[in-house]
């Protein structure tokens, strides 16, 4: 047809962004989809942990039971792993705090020589691929006898937590007005006294959140622990590897729920205090 088509008014492809009703609807749709994507996999795990019998393709278990819970909690391998995990995490957290808080304070307040270079070095652990680092560390552990030891695991866990906590405490200390500390010195307090009377109480919320995250990071660390801790030091997540690989679906599900509980507890408790910068400062547990 040779008839000239009438010029269409230019329709912008993005008209819907400016339409509030359309936008609201799309947002609702998006939120719903995201809730399904995030929530249902977790819900499936919970269902599996209480499933006595669940034959595919039923969407919910055909029989409910607590028997897997009992089996898991009575299994000595499980209780041993729990005990180990909960003895490693506090030690990792305490050691990290002991090393990271002074460093964070120094970076925030004191005239550290080569400060910029040092801060740069503190980013190296994040820049080198983590699993490569763990493998190299394992080689070193073989040579110095730290392979398959408690302290070997503790020191490995500290790689991530130390960097994270140093950045957080540096930011926290920096956010405290230095005049507050000077005022304490002026009133006659020694540097140490000024730190503990004035700086520490004000930095405490940040330090507590950072410690909780360090605790969780240690509790959840699996890949490095698998490399340097086997065969004698099996933490909860490492045990979960084997449970998953052995296809004992309900057992692994129970164990997963058990292992996720501490973190979820923190999520509920800490959501109010959770400043985004704590997370943004480098907590990517991939």
């Amino acid at each position: 047809m040779a008839a000239q088509a009438p010029a269409l008014p230019a329709v912008r492809l993005t008209w819907w962004i400016d339409d509030p009703r359309m936008r609201r609807m799309l947002l609702r749709l998006f939120a719903g989809a995201l809730a399904v994507f995030i929530g249902i996999p977790l819900l499936t795990l919970v269902l599996w942990s209480f499933a006595g019998e669940w034959f595919w393709p039923n969407l919910i278990p055909t029989q409910w039971s607590l028997r897997w819970w009992q089996e898991v909690l009575e299994n000595p391998r499980v209780t041993d792993a729990m005990f180990l995990s909960f003895t490693i995490a506090p030690v990792v957290t305490a050691l990290t705090a002991l090393v990271a808080i002074p460093a964070g304070y120094a970076f925030a307040r004191l005239d550290v020589p080569y400060r910029r270079l040092l801060l740069l070095l503190f980013l190296i652990p994040n820049a080198f691929p983590r699993i490569g680092l763990y493998v190299s560390l394992a080689v070193l552990y073989y040579q110095i006898g730290l392979i398959d030891t408690y302290w070997g695991i503790v020191f490995l866990h500290m790689i991530g937590t130390l960097v994270y906590m140093t950045w957080i405490t540096t930011a926290t200390f920096r956010s405290i007005d230095p005049h507050l500390e000077e005022a304490a010195r002026d009133a006659g307090a020694s540097p140490l006294r000024a730190f503990f009377s004035v700086v520490m109480p004000l930095a405490l919320p940040g330090i507590i959140v950072a410690s909780l995250f360090s605790f969780l990071a240690s509790l959840d660390e699996a890949q490095g622990t698998l490399i340097v801790g086997t065969p004698h030091y099996i933490t909860m997540p490492v045990l979960l590897y084997t449970l998953i690989s052995s296809f004992q679906r309900p057992v692994a599900a129970v164990f997963s729920v058990l292992l996720a509980l501490p973190s979820l507890l923190l999520l509920v408790v800490a959501q109010r205090y959770l400043h985004s910068e704590y997370v943004a400062a480098g907590l990517g547990r991939v």
């Binding site: 007005d177 005049h179 507050l180 000077e182 005022a183 304490a184 010195r185 002026d186 009133a187 006659g188 307090a189 020694s190 540097p191 006294r193 009377s197 004035v198 109480p201 004000l202």
Partner: protein, 365 residues
């Protein structure tokens, strides 16, 4: 008895001299204001007095004792910070009592002294509250009480009123002066506000770019500025460049074709000078006259109690004169003549002098 002496004190940051060879003697019970634009080194000087910054050269003496190397906790000084620096996690009482408790005084002594000091600063009955529950003026008083409760020999104040609104600032000004008089305490007060300095201090030390320009009482500083910077920074001044002509006891500056009578202590005939005259030392004429400058684009600015006549001179730029509030402008030309002026050797370029808000890279921290 508490006097302070700064002897050739200097502080150098990487590429700038923040405080350059400052010597200053502060007498017992004296109230001295350190006055200058931001970045002039006044706060650095104060912080060296308090012990937060260690000078790179010179000595600081309190009552004849060298305190240059003492940390702040071992100096008999107490500081009130610009931000007040009240500890947000302690109540007002705990803030004030902190230093007393460090000295392991008996509980009842601590309580009694805290209460008395809060009385002195006019803030009884807020002991249980936290700093965040107080107004700016109240926080200011708490900071003052906290500094004074230890009975320091020297009180140091760093722009303490800059965070208050104008009305409150005037009230706190009188209040701080009253407390200082009552306690008879030697005080060093840092400010960039000349009105504060002029109304509160016994003596004023004017600083610029790390250098002490002049020390004197309000009248000295205003009427007999020692440098062109002081003349310009305190009050307002008309600044012109000219050449000095000395004939016996009298001196005049030749500014273009006009001759301006000047005070010029000790300057030689023929010196290139900067002439500085206060707006109130100008005569406004309706007809051309000898030594008068014609004003172009003349306009009036009303200040309530008086007016200012502003205008431009083709060669010398903006000029201003203070005129009575009854003064009116019509379309007839106006002329101004300097009745009194001071001359300064102009090795300081006028442009440099008028750079009031000189941004110094080594900002006071």
């Amino acid at each position: 008895m508490a006097e302070v002496e700064l002897r050739n004190v200097s502080k150098v940051y990487k590429d700038t001299v923040a405080v350059d060879d400052v010597s200053l003697h502060i007498r017992d019970r004296e109230f001295v204001a350190l006055l200058g634009p931001s970045g002039c080194g006044k706060t650095t000087t104060l912080r060296m007095l308090a012990g937060f910054i260690r000078p790179d050269g010179g000595q600081i003496l309190i009552d004849g004792h060298d305190v240059t190397d003492l940390p702040p906790e071992r100096r008999p000084t107490a500081m009130v910070f610009q931000s007040y620096a009240l500890w947000p996690h302690m109540t007002v009482a705990d803030n004030v009592a902190f230093g007393l408790r460090l000295r392991k005084l008996a509980r009842n002594v601590v309580e009694e002294r805290t209460a008395r000091m809060l009385d002195v600063v006019g803030l009884p009955g807020v002991t249980k509250r936290y700093p965040s529950q107080l107004s700016g003026g109240q926080q200011q008083r708490v900071a003052l009480a906290r500094a004074l409760v230890l009975g320091p020999k020297i009180l140091l104040l760093d722009e303490p009123l800059s965070n208050l609104d104008a009305k409150l600032r005037v009230r706190m000004r009188d209040e701080i002066r009253r407390i200082q008089q009552e306690l008879q305490i030697t005080t060093v007060y840092v400010t960039h506000d000349q009105e504060e300095a002029l109304t509160m201090a016994d003596r004023i030390a004017v600083m610029n770019k790390g250098v002490l320009q002049q020390v004197g009482d309000a009248l000295d500083i205003y009427d007999r500025p020692a440098t062109a910077f002081v003349a310009d920074f305190i009050g307002s001044s008309n600044l012109l460049s000219g050449t000095l002509r000395v004939a016996g006891a009298s001196a005049v500056a030749e500014v273009g074709t006009a001759r301006v009578p000047v005070d010029a202590d000790g300057l030689a005939d023929g010196t290139a000078v900067t002439v500085s005259a206060r707006p109130e030392d100008m005569e406004v004429l309706r007809a051309p006259a000898a030594d008068a400058f014609a004003l172009e684009d003349a306009r009036l600015v009303n200040f309530g109690a008086y007016k200012r006549l502003l205008g431009r001179h083709p060669a010398f730029g903006q000029l201003e004169a203070r005129v009575p509030k009854s003064f009116r402008l019509d379309n007839a030309p106006v002329y101004v003549r300097f009745t009194r002026a001071r001359a300064f050797a102009s090795d300081e370029a006028p442009a440099d002098i008028t750079d009031k808000a000189a941004r110094d890279p080594a900002r006071n921290r």
